[in-house]
Symmetry: C2
Subunit: 112 residues, 2 copies
Amino acid sequence: MSNSKLYKGSLSTIILQLLSKEDKMYGYEMTQRVKELTKGELNITEGALYPALHKLEADNLLEVEMKKVDNRLRKYYKLTQKGATESVSKLEELERFMQTMNGLINPKPSLG
Amino acid sequence: MSNSKLYKGSLSTIILQLLSKEDKMYGYEMTQRVKELTKGELNITEGALYPALHKLEADNLLEVEMKKVDNRLRKYYKLTQKGATESVSKLEELERFMQTMNGLINPKPSLG
DNA sequence: TTTTCATACCTAAGATAGTTATGTATATTT
DNA sequence: AAATATACATAACTATCTTAGGTATGAAAA
């Protein structure tokens, strides 16, 4: 995924975020999209991605549609209603996380 | 630690960051400091903290000094030279991570 | 033409970093 | 006297990832 351990725990957030911007995507496409959006900084491994997709589907956040393209099978994922809601709260969670970490590395001096 | 899984992988960064601002701290003090700095958003559990401190010490990033205060034992940790260097690179890593995540949730439209 | 690379899915073993629960001990507060 | 705060610690469990493999098709390079 990356040499940095900070990405641990962020994969489902990333997937939901991708799908909130794009109606439907398939797994391999997500790895490529993330690679280009992050200029190679983040490479999602398939061993992490596919289990994560299956879990999101099992949790009813994603639904699947199979499609055959060029004689090759693709599994397109899209957000369910529940998934759309979750993607919003995951985004808020991420923003809260970043604010919190910022407050830790750059503490405001207490007034007084 | 927090209900959010995003903090997973950030603990050593946080510890090093605390110690780059404060000459020496002991474990319990770190949990309290983080709690106040994050207004309760982040509570470091002892089950996570102590093993993390031991690992940082084993990796030669921290050194220990025992002190008896009020008849209670405290283990004060401070950065080694190596730890000071590492705290800087961990900080850069965190900032890169946040930039990357920001680029994912708020992609710049490609020019053209 | 055969091998390699890209596309496209998948799982399983192992590593790692947490949680939850528990233990010890002293000091303070209720 | 009992509960809470201080201060350390470990152990069983869980979740998420890495590493390493597997299947299969199509395109490019050797």
